[in-house]
Amino acid sequence: MKSPILQSASKYLLPILLLFSFFLLLRGHYYPGGGFVGGLVASIAFVLHSFANGTAQTMKLLKRKPLSLIPIGLGLSTISMVMPMAFGLPPMTGLWFEHPIPVIGMVGSSLFFDLGVYLVVIGVVLTILFTIALNNEEENS
C-alpha cells in the first residue's frame, strides 16, 4: 500500500520539517517553541517518512539506531548543567556568550540543555515507535 504521492511528498517534507523543528528549538527562548516540541516535530517528520517508505528504509536513512541519540542528548544536557561549576558557579546557572551569533541569535548554556532535550525526545519517540513497527513488519514477513 505504498503511495507514490506520499513517497514523493515525504521526500520534500522530511528536510522541511526537520528545518522547522530546528527553528522551533532555536526560537524557544523568546517565542513559542523549544526542545520538547522541536523534538516531537522532528520525530513526526521521520514517522511520516517511515509511513511512506517503510520503517526499514527510514532506519537506513538514519544510519544509526535512534536509541543512540538518547545517551548523546542526556550527556549534552548534563554537561550544560554542570558546566557552570567549572567557572565556580552553582550548577544550572545560565552562561551566555556576549554577542549574538548571526541566524541563531543568543547562544547560552540553556540552548545546549534544550538541544539535549531535543535529541532525547527524538531518540525516545523513534525508539518506541520503530521498535514496535519493525517488530510488526518482521512478524508479517
Binding site: 527562548h29 513559542p32 523549544g34 536509541l67 532525547v120 525516545v124 518506541i128 521498535t131 514496535i132
Partner: protein, 769 residues
C-alpha cells in the same frame, strides 16, 4: 585521612577495569594498599597516644549540617589499625586462598569496598557520614557472604545477614537523628558538650533503645546473634576479616563511641550488662556442641562480642581498659584461628573436628600458629589473651554493682571456661593425636597462606610479654576515648592475687571440659530439638509472616490487568480530590460573572461530545482511537483560543504521535469482542462520570478562588533579567526548573529502553528456540 577512605573506594571501583590483569601475576600488588594505610595509621600512634586527636573538616552539604568530618582519636586509631593491619594479613592470605577463582577480581573489589567503608565508620565524626559507611559495610558484607552465588545456602545466609543488619541500620538511623535533634548538631565531638541535655531529655530511653538495637544486630548480640553463624558460608578470609575481627565489632564501636555521650546511666549500664551477659554465656556454651570448626569459631566470636558489650556496660575505667585489651587480643587470635581453619579446609576439604586430627605432622608452621592462638584464646600466661582475661576479672571484681560482684564474676568465669575449651577444640584438636589415613596425602600449604596467621599469632604472644607496650600505645588511649578524659596506666604481666587464682582455675576447668567434651552429631541433633524456641525461629517466623502479608497485599493491587490498575488509580485520585474539595468548603459561584460562549467554542464542544459518543459506542478499536485524537485536537484548539501556543503545539504533536503509536499496537491485538457485562459497564461509567465531575468542580473552584499571582509574577519579571529569555514557559523548563526537565528526560529514556528491551529481547529468545 580522607585519602585513606577514598583510596580504597577508588581501588574497589577500578577493579572493574583492571581486575582482569590482577588475577594472576600482578595480584601481589593487592595487599600493598592496606599495608600502606597501616603504616599511615601506625605513624599516628605517638601523637594519639600522648592524648591528642586529629580532626579534619570537609564541607559536603553544609546547609544540612552534613559534613565530611573525620576524627582520629584513640578508639578510632585502634580500630583503624585493626582494619588495615588484619586487612593486610587477610589480603595476602586471600590472594592464595582464592587463586584461580573466576570471580577473583570481584572478591577483591568487595573487600576493598568493605575496608574503606569500615575505615569510614571508625573515622567519621558526623553521624550521617557514619551511617552511610555503616550501611556500606552491611552491603559489602552481603556480597561477600553470598560470594559463592551458585550455592543456595550461601545466598540465603547473605539475605538473612543483610535483613538483620539492615533492620538494625534503620533503628540506628532513627537513634542518630533523634540524638542529633536533641543536641542540635550532627557532629559527634560537639554532642559531647550536650551530654547533660541529652540525658535529661524525655526521649533519652527511646534514643538508647534504638541505638542498642542497631548495635546489637550488627554485633550479633542475643537475640539477633543467629545471622553470624550463617554468615560463615562466606569464604574463610571473609569470615576472618568481617565476621570476627572488624565488621561485627562496629556495633561495639558504636556503643564505645557513644558511651561518653549517652552512657553512664543505669538504663544504659544494666541493659548492656544483661544483654552482653546472656550473649556471652549462651554462645560460649553453644560453641562446645559444634563439630564444624567454623561453627565453633562463630559461636566463640559471638561470646567474645558479648563480653565486650558486658564490659562496656560495667562502665568503669577498668572495664573500658579490659574491653579494649580484650578487643585487640580477640582480633589477633580469632583472625589467626579463622585463617588456620581456612588452610585446613583448603588442604583437607573438611572442617569436621570429629575427623580432623594429627595435622601437625604435615603442616607444622600452621600447627604452631594455631597453637599460639589457642593458648592466647585460653589465656595462658605470657599471651595477650591472659592479660585480657585478667583485666576482665579485675573489672567484674571492682564493678560498682556491689551486690552483684560475684554474679558478674561468675558469669565471666563460666563464659571463659567455655571459651578456653572452644579455643582448644579449634586450635589444638585438629593438630594433635593420630593422623587419620585419609588425611595422609595432605601437604604443606603455600607460604602466603601460613605466614599471615603465624605473624598475628606471634604478635599475640609478643603483646602478652610486653603488655605495657600494647597498652600504652593502643588500648589505653582507646579506653580514654570512652571516658572523655585522657588517662594512662601501665598494664602488668600478672597480679599475684585473687585474679590469678581465678585465671588458673578457669584454665584448668576449661582444659578439663576440653578433654571430657566429645562433640558429636548426636549431641548436635539433641540440641536441634530446642530450635523451636530459639530466637532464630521466632524472628524468621515473623519475617515469613511479613513476606506472606506483602505477597497478599501486592496481589491485591498488582494483578497484571491494565484496566484494574487504571480503575484503582482513578478511584484513589477521585477519593483524594473529593476529600480535599469537601474540606476546603463550598464553592462560591457567581453565575453572573460567566460570559456567553462564542460560536467556535460551541462548535468545539459539540465536536467533543460527538467524538465522545463515538468512543463509547463504537465496536471498532481504530474508530475509537481516531475519535480520541479528535478530542485531543479539540483540546488543542481550546488552548489556541485561550492563548497558550506552547501547550497547543505540544498537545498537537503528542496527539499525532500517540495516534500513530496506538495504531501500531492495535495491529497486534486480537479482534475486538466485548466481554464486559452490563454491571461492569455501569461501574466503569460511574467511575468515569465521578472523575469528570470532580475535575469540573476543581476547575470551578479554582476559578472562584482569588488567584495568587506571586509565582507567575516572579517568573514573568525575572525570565529576561536572570535567564535572558522572553518565553516564560520555555525559561521555566530549561532554566528555573531545569533539574525537573533533566529528570523527566531521564524517565522518558528509561521508558524507551524498557520498550526496546522488552520487544527486542523477547524476540531474541524466540529466535533461539
Amino acid at each position: 585521612m580522607l585519602l585513606t577512605i577514598l583510596s580504597g573506594l577508588f581501588t574497589s571501583c577500578s577493579m572493574v577495569f583492571i581486575g582482569k590483569h590482577l588475577k594472576s601475576r600482578w595480584s601481589f600488588v593487592l595487599p600493598i594498599l592496606p599495608a600502606l594505610l597501616f603504616i599511615f595509621f601506625a605513624a599516628h600512634v605517638p601523637l594519639i597516644s600522648s592524648g591528642n586527636q586529629q580532626l579534619q573538616h570537609f564541607s559536603w552539604v553544609p546547609s544540612l549540617g552534613v559534613n565530611f568530618d573525620l576524627r582520629l582519636d584513640g578508639l578510632s586509631l585502634l580500630f583503624a589499625l585493626l582494619i588495615t593491619g588484619i586487612g593486610t594479613a587477610i589480603f595476602t592470605y586471600a590472594r592464595y586462598y582464592l587463586k584461580g577463582h573466576i570471580y577473583f577480581d570481584r572478591f577483591f573489589g568487595y573487600l576493598f569496598l568493605f575496608m574503606s567503608a569500615m575505615l569510614g565508620v571508625v573515622l567519621s565524626d558526623n553521624i550521617i557520614l557514619l551511617f552511610v559507611f555503616w550501611e556500606l559495610t552491611s552491603i559489602s558484607s552481603f556480597f561477600l557472604i553470598g560470594f559463592n552465588n551458585d550455592n543456595q545456602d550461601s545466598r540465603k545466609s547473605a539475605l538473612t545477614a543483610l535483613s538483620i543488619t539492615g533492620l538494625g541500620g534503620f533503628f540506628l538511623l532513627a537513634a542518630l537523628i533523634l540524638v542529633a535533634n536533641i543536641a542540635g548538631t550532627f557532629s559527634i565531638s560537639e554532642m559531647m558538650d550536650s551530654r547533660a541535655l541529652i540525658l535529661d531529655h524525655p526521649l533519652y530511653p527511646l534514643v538508647i533503645s534504638l541505638l542498642f538495637i542497631g548495635a546489637f544486630t550488627k554485633s550479633a548480640q542475643f537475640p539477633f546473634h543467629f545471622w553470624l553463624p550463617g554468615a560463615m558460608k562466606a569464604p574463610t578470609p571473609v569470615s576472618a576479616y568481617l565476621h570476627s575481627a572488624t565488621m561485627v565489632k562496629a556495633g561495639i564501636y558504636i556503643l564505645a563511641r557513644f558511651t561518653p555521650i549517652l552512657g553512664g546511666t543505669d538504663y544504659w549500664n544494666y541493659t548492656l550488662i544483661i544483654v552482653g551477659g546472656i550473649t556471652m554465656l549462651y554462645a560460649s556454651i553453644h560453641a562446645l556442641f559444634r563439630i564444624d570448626l567454623k561453627g565453633i569459631l562463630a559461636y566463640s566470636t559471638i561470646s567474645a562480642l558479648g563480653i565486650l558489650t558486658f564490659l562496656i556496660g560495667i562502665g568503669t575505667q577498668d572495664a573500658f581498659i579490659a574491653a579494649m585489651v580484650f578487643l585487640l587480643a580477640h582480633a589477633l587470635y580469632k583472625a589467626t584461628l579463622f585463617m588456620v581453619t581456612g588452610i585446613i579446609d583448603h588442604e583437607t576439604g573438611t572442617r569436621d573436628i570429629t575427623i580432623l586430627a594429627g595435622l601437625k605432622k604435615v603442616m607444622p608452621p600452621v600447627a604452631l600458629a594455631a597453637g599460639l592462638a589457642a593458648l592466647s584464646s585460653a589465656g595462658l600466661p605470657f599471651t595477650f589473651g591472659f592479660i585480657g582475661k585478667d583485666l576482665v576479672y579485675e573489672a567484674t571484681l571492682h564493678s560498682p554493682l556491689n551486690d552483684y560482684i560475684w554474679v558478674l564474676t561468675g558469669l565471666a568465669i563460666v563464659t571463659n571456661i567455655g571459651l578456653v575449651a572452644a579455643g582448644f577444640m579449634a586450635g589444638i584438636k585438629p593438630f594433635t593425636g593420630k593422623l587419620p589415613t585419609q588425611l595422609e596425602h595432605v601437604h604443606m600449604p603455600s607460604k602466603s597462606l601460613w605466614i599471615p596467621p603465624l605473624m598475628l599469632a606471634i604478635l599475640g604472644v609478643a603483646f602478652g610479654i610486653f603488655p605495657a607496650f600494647a597498652g600504652n600505645y593502643l588500648s589505653i588511649p582507646a579506653a580514654s576515648s570512652l571516658t572523655a578524659t585522657f588517662f594512662t596506666k601501665n598494664l602488668q604481666i600478672w597480679h599475684f592475687n585473687l585474679i590469678l587464682v581465678l585465671s588458673i582455675a578457669t584454665l584448668l576447668l576449661g582444659t578439663l571440659i576440653y578433654v571430657l567434651n566429645k562433640p558429636s552429631v548426636a549431641k548436635l541433633d539433641k540440641l536441634a530439638k530446642f530450635d523451636k524456641v530459639s530466637p532464630q525461629c521466632i524472628i524468621t517466623g515473623y519475617a515469613n509472616d511479613i513476606v506472606r502479608f506483602a505477597t497478599w497485599f501486592t496481589n491485591l493491587f498488582h494483578n497484571g490487568y491494565l484496566r484494574s490498575y487504571h480503575l484503582k488509580i482513578i478511584l484513589f485520585a477521585e477519593a483524594l480530590l473529593a476529600y480535599k474539595l469537601w474540606v476546603s468548603g463550598p464553592i462560591k459561584l457567581d453565575l453572573w460573572m460567566l460570559t456567553y460562549p462564542d460560536i467556535y467554542e460551541v462548535v468545539i464542544v459539540a465536536v467533543l461530545i460527538g467524538a465522545l459518543y463515538i468512543i463509547v459506542t463504537t465496536p471498532s478499536r481504530l474508530t475509537s482511537v481516531v475519535s480520541m485524537s479528535v478530542i485531543g485536537y479539540c483540546i488543542c484548539l481550546i488552548f489556541v483560543i485561550y492563548s497558550a501556543p506552547d501547550l497547543a503545539m505540544t498537545q498537537f504533536t503528542i496527539d499525532t504521535l500517540s495516534t500513530v503509536l496506538f495504531v501500531l499496537v492495535l495491529y497486534k491485538l486480537p479482534g475486538f469482542i466485548n466481554f464486559a457485562s452490563k454491571k461492569i459497564l455501569y461501574r466503569d461509567a460511574l467511575v468515569s462520570l465521578g472523575f469528570g465531575v470532580t475535575l469540573s468542580l476543581i476547575a470551578l473552584k479554582a476559578w472562584s478562588e482569588p488567584i495568587s499571582r506571586e509565582v507567575s509574577n516572579f517568573y514573568g519579571e525575572n525570565a529576561y533579567l536572570l535567564a535572558k529569555g522572553k518565553n516564560v514557559v520555555n525559561v521555566i523548563l530549561v532554566d528555573f526548573r531545569g533539574i525537573d526537565t533533566m529528570f523527566e528526560t531521564v524517565v522518558l529514556s528509561i521508558a524507551a529502553l524498557g520498550v526496546y528491551s522488552l520487544i527486542r529481547l523477547r524476540l531474541k529468545s524466540s529466535e533461539r528456540e
